[in-house]
């Protein structure tokens, strides 16, 4: 039957030539190939990344460890609405809401805030839906940090102590919105450093 594409090749099993049957030429061919790789590995830079010492650069859109953002005067943005927990397909987020007391206006942006906010990093699939669901631009997945391996399971439940970003803008992650001019400057410098 003729083939539909007319590209079929007819293959015939030819008897092996003497050189092929002797096997030695093929051995030397193979040896020369591996030797080329040997010298390439010995002289050129290898593609292997020796992980703890050197790290591969993260992609700018990498979704890593969560962060709870502060606003431009350093107040926590989260208002504990629970939309992130609802959006989370892995049910990794739990929170307890509380009412802001008098005198705490410099700590919390809204009248309601998260007393506790926990993300279970073993459940989290780092999909970023919490980030999209947040109406207050409070939760983000950082592009430059990962949840490191740990020995105990309960150490993977990150509370507010490890999620809320530091007050110092220079120590913060590069992703976020509504920055002060100083913060924006510092972060753009950090970004250009990381991307270069």
């Amino acid at each position: 039957m003729q083939s539909l594409s007319n590209r079929a090749k007819k293959l015939e099993a030819k008897p092996m030539t003497l050189a092929e049957r002797a096997y030695l030429p093929a051995i030397f061919q193979g040896l020369s190939i591996t030797m080329r790789h040997f010298f390439r590995a010995a002289t050129k830079k290898q593609v292997t990344v020796r992980y703890p010492e050197e790290q591969r650069p993260f992609s700018p859109i990498f979704r890593g460890l969560h962060v709870l953002k502060r606003d431009e005067v350093g107040r926590e943005r989260c208002t504990a609405c629970g939309l992130c927990a609802v959006a989370c397909p892995a049910e990794a987020i739990t929170m307890v809401a509380g009412e802001r007391k008098k005198g705490e206006e410099n700590l919390y942006r809204e009248e309601k805030y998260a007393v506790s906010y926990e993300v279970n990093m073993l459940r989290c699939i780092f999909c970023g839906l919490c980030e999209e669901a947040c109406p207050k631009a409070a939760v983000y997945l950082q592009p430059d940090k990962m949840a490191p391996p740990r020995f105990e399971r309960d150490e993977f439940i990150y509370g507010k102590d490890r999620l809320v970003e530091p007050v110092d803008p220079n120590a913060r992650s590069i992703r976020g919105i509504q920055l002060t001019p100083e913060q924006a400057h510092a972060l753009s410098q950090k970004t250009s450093q990381q991307l270069s």
Binding site: L24, L31, T34, M35, H37, F38, Q46, R50
Partner: protein, 360 residues
């Protein structure tokens, strides 16, 4: 009656050879991994110490601290004897290898060789043949089908390839007329004829010997006794801890000994090109004493022999990470229908060339 000083020197040499064999075997494990990695565009072990040089120590600690496992129904005595035999036989054969020429201090002559016996080659062959007992006993005593299959394969493979190996050797013996490894080495060093190493006279014999050496040491492409894709781990499937380590070590010691034997038989042993010219130049132009010039040549020859040995060990590893394993019937066909007839042809050819006066 052997005089005591000679005995003392000999025992020192044997101890040193023993230590060196073990050291080389230890670092063969490291070299194997690094060379394998480089051939496959990887990095290899580089965590323990600079360049991973302490990796063998880490491996040894790991092996020693592993659980000593005895399979149910195993013959305990034989199970322990297997790896011991493999190791003992592997280490014994290096005793007769001449690692260097003599070193002279006044009237004291020190021979850089464990034991000089006039049947050195037979000694090596006898011990190497015994080596398969370690594998056979270990595989048999494990009470495991895979181990037994590996052991049987090792037995038949070694027997088949010893024939071709012996016949390749006979051609060398026809040229040299002696079984002493030292004599064979010295014959390859006629003054002014440095290039008459046996490889020039016996190229075909060398190739046969090389292929058989791969089979005798159970190295890829002939590592059917282990053959992890078919037989789990072959004869050492049931072994753990340092008994396993002894088997692996024995393999590397065997590789070392096979490399040494090939260097001695075919590549001039401790001879190196222009050694007599160098000695004469030292004596005449640099006004050295003849004795110290000769000692320098001996030391250089020792280093040269180790260079050859390391080159062969590298070749063993290079081949291991290049060629796929033979199928068992292919292995047997290669041994019986190709290598043995070739070896016989090589004997006839050598005999004809000797009769014709072309080589001597």
């Amino acid at each position: 009656m052997i005089e005591l000083p000679t005995l003392g020197w000999q025992s020192i040499v044997i101890l040193v050879v023993f230590g060196v064999s073990l050291l080389i075997a230890t670092y063969c494990t490291y070299a194997e991994r690094v060379i394998a990695a480089f051939l496959q565009d990887r990095v290899g072990p580089d965590r323990a110490g600079p360049f991973g040089l302490l990796q063998p120590l880490a491996d040894a600690v790991k092996l020693f601290t592993k659980e000593e496992f005895f399979p149910a129904g195993a013959n305990k005595a034989l199970f322990i004897m297997g790896p011991c035999l493999a190791m003992i036989t592997a280490l014994m054969s290096s005793a007769v290898i001449p690692f260097g020429n003599v070193i002279q201090f006044g009237n004291n002559v020190f021979n850089l060789q464990g034991i000089e016996v006039n049947i050195g080659m037979l000694w090596v062959f006898g011990i190497v043949s015994l080596g398969v007992y370690g594998v056979m006993i270990g595989g048999w005593a494990s009470n495991n089908k895979f181990s037994l299959l590996g052991a049987i394969r090792a037995g038949s493979q070694n027997i088949s390839y010893e024939l071709a190996m012996g016949m390749a050797l006979i051609a060398v013996l026809m040229i040299s007329g002696t079984l002493s490894l030292r004599e064979i080495t010295l014959q390859q060093s006629q003054a002014g004829e440095w290039h008459f190493w046996n490889i020039v006279k016996q190229p075909l014999g060398f190739i046969i010997f090389l292929v058989c050496a791969f089979a005798e040491t159970n190295r890829t492409p002939f590592d059917l006794p282990e053959c992890e894709t078919e037989l789990v781990g072959g004869y050492h499937t049931e072994y753990s801890s340092m008994k396993m380590g002894l088997y692996l070590f024995a393999e590397y010691v065997n590789v070392f000994v096979a490399s040494a034997v090939m260097s001695v038989l075919y590549f001039g042993g401790f001879n190196f090109p222009f050694q007599y010219e160098l000695r004469d130049w030292l004596v005449s132009a640099q006004s050295w004493e003849l004795m110290s010039a000769q000692n320098l040549i001996s030391v250089l020859g020792l280093l040269g022999l180790f260079g050859k040995i390391f080159a062969f060990i590298f070749f063993f590893m290079w081949v291991r990470w290049t060629l796929p394993r033979f199928r068992y019937d292919q292995l047997m066909r290669l041994g019986w229908t190709i290598l043995i007839p070739l070896a016989i042809f090589n004997i006839l050819l050598t005999g004809g060339l000797i009769l014709g006066g072309i080589i001597k």
